[in-house]
């Protein structure tokens, strides 16, 4: 398959990336090369093979649902944002 300009624009939208015009052309070529390369897995027979999403044998690691002391306090965390007011993070109007 060949990656088109439309594909790149669609992927940019899925990825929440605003791309300037000068970034689009090289991305068409680079993504096309990469997709061409990874497509070689088509050659491989994986009929009846189970997928591996995690390569360790643990499942459902539980812990007690208790409140623990966290090394950062509310102020530390709010200081990380650009804008806050009354202990809340501020963003532009949504509606």
């Amino acid at each position: 398959m060949a990656i088109t300009r439309e594909d790149v624009l669609h992927l940019a939208e899925l990825s929440n990336l605003r791309l300037s015009e000068d970034q689009i052309e090289p991305l068409i070529k680079d993504l096309d090369n990469i997709v061409g390369y990874i497509s070689q897995l088509d050659e491989l027979d994986t009929e009846g093979v189970e997928p591996t999403y995690q390569c360790f044998d643990m499942k459902n690691v539980w812990r007690e649902d208790t409140i623990e002391e966290f090394e950062a306090n509310r102020e530390d965390l709010l200081n990380l944002t650009v804008e806050s007011e009354d202990n809340q993070i501020k963003v532009p109007k949504v509606l």
Binding site: L11, I38, T46, P51, T52
Partner: protein
């Protein structure tokens, strides 16, 4: 390892490291220094020693921290504009464990932004230079840590390895590098890349030193549910291989691997024979698909992990915004490097409807075949031997405009990562041009110390 005691002052060890860091500034190993705090900590340790109080196993040992580890001492950037002013609110478990043993972080090292890359050229702050040739790359993504260790600025440095980011720069700079079994060291407080293969490890100049540092960092952490029980608890000399049989991966003795590197691997195999190991060439045809599997699985996980960077709660926020959507999309455009964007987009491609089965699911099935091939091999062999990277360090700028060529660097290092296996990069020889060439040993889960034991035994053969 030079550790502070009655005769050696921690302050002197730290001063010496800081001076060397200045002397080698042109290599650009560091993104930021931790001078004042490091000296303060050294003084505290010296006072303890003077009073006869107990100090840790790494008392006063200066080390360098890859700048994707969080530590409340300063700013963690991940070498990306997105985090260029991010004061870490927490400290990584690995860092906390080292500091509890008295190790002292003198500075944070350069990397490819978000650890995406094999040369440290994808850093927002500019590249790091190879310790043996200023015109060549450090390797990556933990390039700054590898070079800081190779130049002797620090006695050890931390790295992270998702598909080769410790092993390849270790090989390029002639130092030891360990990528442990998946789950050995907590990932808590480290900037996530690809969660199913992210591992935390280190660089040092000897097998004993990497062993000591890893033994301290290893162990279960309630804050990272993938961590496994501490198995790094033997003396290195006691971690002897049982079979004394090594598989030499035949598929990497030809096409795609530089002749000089193949020769080095064959020479190493000969040296292993002298050390009493039986060497057998083993064909593993699935190996040649490793890179394709990795460049599906890893970008998919990257796309997911990097979706949290939206300019809202922390990190960079674009100045030019009109609405909430533009906070996200303009911030991400400005905050990420081109390679970050490519990986996010490839990840969203392989995960998107219509392509999921053909790429993502297919790759995860192929991953099972790869794991099966490893399991079969480890019934016969203690370890598998191959190169770390296809060639010695390349020139700065040589591959930066061709992402696929850059990915080819990882063709041999991504394989154990996909299977969660331990792999080490041991320094071995130099190319005709004087560039270091390391070797890679891969073993079954939790055989990390055995791999170090094997490589140390081989190193000692005259």
């Amino acid at each position: 390892m030079k550790i502070a005691d009655k005769n050696t002052k921690a302050v002197d060890l730290v001063r010496e490291a800081l001076e060397k860091a200045k002397e080698f500034e042109q290599y650009h190993c560091f993104i930021s220094m931790n001078e004042a705090r490091a000296l303060e900590r050294a003084r505290e340790i010296d006072e303890k020693i003077a009073k006869g109080e107990k100090v840790g196993r790494l008392a006063g040992v200066p080390y360098a921290l890859k700048d994707n580890y969080l530590s409340r001492e300063g700013v963690t950037t991940a070498a990306a504009r997105m985090l260029d002013n991010f004061p870490s609110p927490i400290t990584a478990t690995a860092v906390a464990k080292l500091e509890a043993e008295g190790a002292i972080m003198i500075g944070r090292t350069n990397l490819d932004a978000y650890a995406h890359g094999s040369s440290t050229e994808n850093s927002y702050f500019g590249p790091t230079h190879n310790a043996h040739d200023m015109e060549r790359v450090a390797g990556g993504s933990s390039g700054g840590s590898a070079v800081a260790t190779a130049l002797g600025i620090v006695q050890f440095a931390l790295g992270s390895d998702t598909g080769g980011s410790i092993r390849q720069p270790a090989s390029y700079n002639g130092v030891w590098g360990v990528k442990p079994t998946y789950g050995t060291v907590s990932r808590y407080g480290v900037v996530a890349m690809a969660s199913s293969t992210d591992t935390m490890g280190c660089f040092a100049k000897t097998a004993e030193d990497v062993d000591l540092v890893m033994s301290i960092m290893a162990g279960k952490d309630p804050k990272d549910s993938t961590t496994i029980d501490d198995f790094w608890n033997r003396e290195l000399e006691d971690a002897k291989p049982k079979k004394k049989k090594i598989g030499l991966i035949k598929d990497f003795l030809g096409g795609g691997v530089d002749a000089e590197v193949v020769k080095a691997i064959r020479d190493y195999a000969d040296k292993m024979k002298k050390a009493g190991f039986e060497i057998e060439e083993v064909e593993m045809p699935i190996m040649k698909y490793g890179l394709a599997i990795y460049y599906i699985v890893q970008p998919a996980e990257v796309a997911s992990n990097l979706s949290r960077y939206d300019g809202v709660r922390y990190g960079h926020r674009a100045a030019e915004i009109t609405d909430l959507d533009s906070v996200y999309s303009n911030t991400r455009d400005e905050g990420f490097m081109p390679e970050n964007k490519r990986r996010i987009m490839i990840g969203n491609f392989v995960l998107s409807s219509g392509f999921f089965d053909a790429y993502y699911l297919k790759a995860q099935k192929a991953r099972t075949l790869l794991i099966n091939a490893y399991n079969e091999a480890f019934e016969k062999y203690d370890a598998l031997l191959c190169a770390v990277a296809p060639a010695p360090a390349f020139k700065l700028g040589e591959k930066i405009n061709d992402p696929l060529q850059m990915y080819m660097e990882d063709m041999m290092s991504v394989l154990p990562s996909l299977a969660g296996l331990p792999a080490i990069s041991a320094p071995f020889t130099k190319s005709k041009g004087g560039l270091p060439i390391g070797v890679q040993l891969i073993g079954p889960r939790k055989s990390d110390q055995v791999l170090l034991n094997i490589a140390k035994t081989v190193e000692e053969v005259k």
